[in-house]
Symmetry: C2
Subunit: 757 residues, 2 copies
Amino acid sequence: MTRSAAELSLRERIGQINQRLKGWEAVEWVDGAPRVTDVLRREVDRWGGIGAIYGVLRADPWSQVRWSNGIPPERSAEAYEAVQEIVRTRGSGLPTLFVEEVPHGLMALGGTTLPVNLALGAGMDVDLVEALGARVAAEARARGTHVALVSGLDVLRDPRWGRAEECFSEDPALAALLVEATVRGMQGRATDGRIADDRVAVVAKHLAGQGAGIGGRNGSGAPIGRRELGEIHLRPAFVAARAGVAGFMAAYNDIDGVPCSANAELLTGVLREDWGWQGIVMADGTAVDRLRDSAPDPASAAALAVTAGVDLSLWDEAFTYVEEAVERGILDTALVTRAADRVLALKRRVGLLEEARPEHAVADPTGSPAAREFLELAHRAAAQSCVLVHDEGVLPLPASAVVAVIGPNADDLEAQLGDYTPPRPDDDPHSSTVRSALEARHGIGNIRYARGTSHRSRLPGDAAEQVDAALSGADAAVVVLGGTSRRSYDEEFADNGAVDGPAPDTTNGEGVDLSRLELPEAQLDLLRVARAAVPVVIAVLIDGRPRPIEPLVALADALIIAPFPGPVGGAAIVDVLGTGVGGGLLPATFPASDGVLPVAHDERRETARGYVDARHPVGRLLGSGAPAVSVRLCSVEATLTAEALREGGTVTLTADLVNDTDRTVSVPVPLYGRRHELGVRPRRRTLLAVERAHVAAGSTAVVQFTLGLDELGSWAGGRPVAAPVEVVAWTAQSHDPPPDALVVRITDQEGDTGWGH
Amino acid sequence: MTRSAAELSLRERIGQINQRLKGWEAVEWVDGAPRVTDVLRREVDRWGGIGAIYGVLRADPWSQVRWSNGIPPERSAEAYEAVQEIVRTRGSGLPTLFVEEVPHGLMALGGTTLPVNLALGAGMDVDLVEALGARVAAEARARGTHVALVSGLDVLRDPRWGRAEECFSEDPALAALLVEATVRGMQGRATDGRIADDRVAVVAKHLAGQGAGIGGRNGSGAPIGRRELGEIHLRPAFVAARAGVAGFMAAYNDIDGVPCSANAELLTGVLREDWGWQGIVMADGTAVDRLRDSAPDPASAAALAVTAGVDLSLWDEAFTYVEEAVERGILDTALVTRAADRVLALKRRVGLLEEARPEHAVADPTGSPAAREFLELAHRAAAQSCVLVHDEGVLPLPASAVVAVIGPNADDLEAQLGDYTPPRPDDDPHSSTVRSALEARHGIGNIRYARGTSHRSRLPGDAAEQVDAALSGADAAVVVLGGTSRRSYDEEFADNGAVDGPAPDTTNGEGVDLSRLELPEAQLDLLRVARAAVPVVIAVLIDGRPRPIEPLVALADALIIAPFPGPVGGAAIVDVLGTGVGGGLLPATFPASDGVLPVAHDERRETARGYVDARHPVGRLLGSGAPAVSVRLCSVEATLTAEALREGGTVTLTADLVNDTDRTVSVPVPLYGRRHELGVRPRRRTLLAVERAHVAAGSTAVVQFTLGLDELGSWAGGRPVAAPVEVVAWTAQSHDPPPDALVVRITDQEGDTGWGH
């Protein structure tokens, strides 16, 4: 078996770094069996092989793959094998990598769909995210997938961006913790680089700064500086690299003018030279073709990308010009070989180059103990993602209550799922909407439902009358509002699968950026009508991005926010209604209103006051949520030398938790901080660490925060560096440190923090 | 006379770099004569002298100086002399510098108030701006002012910022051209550094990046990269430095985390080492005190600032700790001496250290030929600033028409003036509002006025009835809307003079950032009422920032935009009504709506489409305006080597102008461009150059654009550098190059642009 790209012809090497084919164009499912296409054969023959094939299993409106025409889940391995057979027998003999989208579960028919990343960000549960990653990976690998494309590096800096839901948080520390957990879960923790047969290789996306796009517009430039890049956007990537992530996907955007796919400083300087990371860099879909603005022709674009450090293309035409680029002398053959070797190395990591390849496991049938366990984890993740923002004492809602459940997200399963989601099976006994979960809890006879309005426009006909009817005689109204990343099979799509049409029925996801985030009046009107009709009004916001929520707080007695919680989200939300305890905290700052964006809890302190017409741009800070326990940080001061920190030293802070309620609760406990560093304007507040704690009813518990180099070092350069500094730490949900905040001092050998008096 | 700071004691050197006193606290006008205060005496005695005194003549609500208690204009020199006498006789004997605000005319009682910078940006007239600068300088110097604080470096990147009016443009090339003209005008063009006795030294503000503050919030951080900083924000500063500007004021904001006042890379690395500039850096008001977040105590803050390169404080307490900083060993005495020497050098430049000091000229009395000429220039500037955005054929408006003139800015002189404006004299025969100018043109009997609404809220009482009455029987309505930077003597102010209270009656200026720029419904309602009542409706928008204007275009037959045009603005606007020809073009991009900010004509090309609910974020591009002439760029291609460009070579492009109207017009002719540079995502469109042309009625003219290093070099590093590149150039008002755009090639010695095919 080939071990080195040098053994291949130039043409074959180019084949290894190409990932042009869309899998659903390479193999189809016809008459109960896989049928490979001439497109695949031509591609294999043209290059003497193919490095990777994307999306053989992808099913969604863009691919036009559905249950009626797609590959049945339990026969995925057959489809893959049919492709592999062609690749193995017609070219260099090197098997191809099978690459799939796995942003919150495998994006294939029957793939288990989890809450979106933003929901996991609300849960702040590192252990759970790792466990979920392991289950997702096992599910994908059992079908034959080698490489998973996984969101998580993007940091949510402007909620207008439709892809906000793919971010874990606006805070880089939280994003980094959950990215690391995802990589460990999906790839396993093996230290030899080998990815076990029940795991998949992860290509983490996107690198870097995509969340900093101007105005939240998808793929727009990020004219940010090195410190902003390092502190905010590179941190999740660094921890992924450290955890051994197999690959990074270069982002569409430019950073300060240089497109990521042409950014040698980023892809080679930072990743390889500074971090010492080894792995592959994949282009985003058609991103090398999109270098057309930055290069005079496709061959130059390909040369730029390969030279910068892009090892594997995605759908691009430009990489077919690599040979021309070499012939024209604008691309060094050695760089093509370098890229091809990295692709081969990835094949080796997943065991593809071993003579005896493992049999793929048979996918767990639904209902198996493992599948049930996965479902249980998914439900826990959904429950932890629900944030009880506000409760004026109306929760828990008695199970005997007659409830009107109204709103566009009250009974819309698809709206709970998020973007990059496969079509649901017709029959799914485990899924729930708020309506169906209320019916299960209160009895069908006690639940009255009306949709009331669509997401973006009023419904025609008698929608208002239906709402009135539902409210009539109800004890309480649960008004379920928000957005949706629904994709329609009738929609228009760009060449990379992003929505490109008017998308009248969707509000979130890739290609669906919004300029106005305040909920439409038609949605707020439902709250107003409910307020006038019934004594108790509970608002639920199911959405994939922060929005201004003050009108909801003003109109409702309680507010639950659930970032797209997935198919079991209804039950998770109704659990909160039934317990009065939320499982998560806001994973990002919610703006007070439109017009104030961007806002973040970690903007630097400034001399500015707010807008004269919006004095407090922050509506709700990251970390907001009705606390189920009280937290008191034990007041000690801590000191460590920078040298000790550099060599693995840590400081441990302890907090006492008191649970005065009559039920056991599971809550995230964030530790906030502010760094005082000479000559730098401090961020007003950052997240230093977060621990999830379980506290028994009427009981107390202790949580420990272990602060090391990640938490106390400077990330200005993109990886943590120990230097003298003073860090103020606190647990209170305040934007500024309270009077009893602690101080952690990192000193030089003389005991000086640079901030001494 | 002392020539070197080394001859002074440390205490005296510290005195030279202090500018703590506010002038109106140093000298008062009592019983018809200047009276110096004990505050001044104590300050002089404390330091053995004072480097500079700010604002002896300042008159405005913050200083609480008015016509009734301020220094009479013609006796300004006496007041200055009274202060100088104290300084000269009680300390080291070194005279002090008198520093005043001169952002658009001298901010003193009787100072001539010009249109704001944004208005001059619309006029795009380099020669006029230089001429105005010379007149302003002469007026100030005649009173005894040495140093003028002059806005112009800030680049308008987010119109929510209240200080947008102080920017010339969103485009750095336009800002640079007008800054350069301002410096040349105000300081003169003497090459020996000496500033003539009819000119003043200019401290240009602010350095740097203040226009990039997050969300347009005043003084917020600018987390931008080096290329964005260089291309957009440093360009105006570089040309000012090259023109020999006496000083720069360091900005409040941080750049990528480092406050400008503590930014050695900027204040020393860029200014001194890279640019070779010599001059003084002044802190912004209390900016060193505001380093409290970035340093543990005032002495450390002072040490940071002096070390970084701040030479002269403004109102700060921190600089009184310089001696302590030296004693503690955190500040090198040599750096204090360096700063003091720079202050002395500035005194030398303005002739203060000469034994025989010139007598101050007596200020031109109102009505003198020079004063009349100044007034004429101010009127021309106002006329050139009016942009006719839209005309459906209703202009010119016949002078016989009966006109209803309504709206909050129809007859509000103060609202035309902008921020940093002294109180108007009670009797000012040369000023005009739209109402008064219409009365002059149409006859008082033909003009009916109603205010209709205030700027931010509806008026109580019978405002609506008054509007109806004004409209009744009118042939046309001129509806004058917009904002105001009015300051009230009852307002609250921050310690730097920015508005700090609720400011219910103001919408613009320092400390008045707005989150919503769409005009209030109460203002739009006036247009709606007019639309229903009279056959012709003309909208006029007098404001200091871009706003969404589509509702105005939709409701009115014509729209004129006048950035705060100054006291003669009314007449200038009515000139446009009477001719149907606007004098300027939009100096910045107007957003399509709220929620899409920021937008600029020179954002980099991106893969993004617009928001799903706002597909075209740009409402009107920079350069928009109803064209009075047609322009055709003569189609030649041009080539120059980078070496030739570096050594002063130029390329000349020629455009033919055709004036089909029956009047001579004066118009700006912008030349747009796009740079194609390998590996860089191009800005969609930049302004390469602009020439103002005069074309006789029914005639043609030729305009030449001379493109040299400034226009064709790369500004990525903050000063222009010649390198191979391909630049596409065009004159059409389009966002992308039209098919007949020209190509300018800058090549290497082999004739290669890096963009060849």
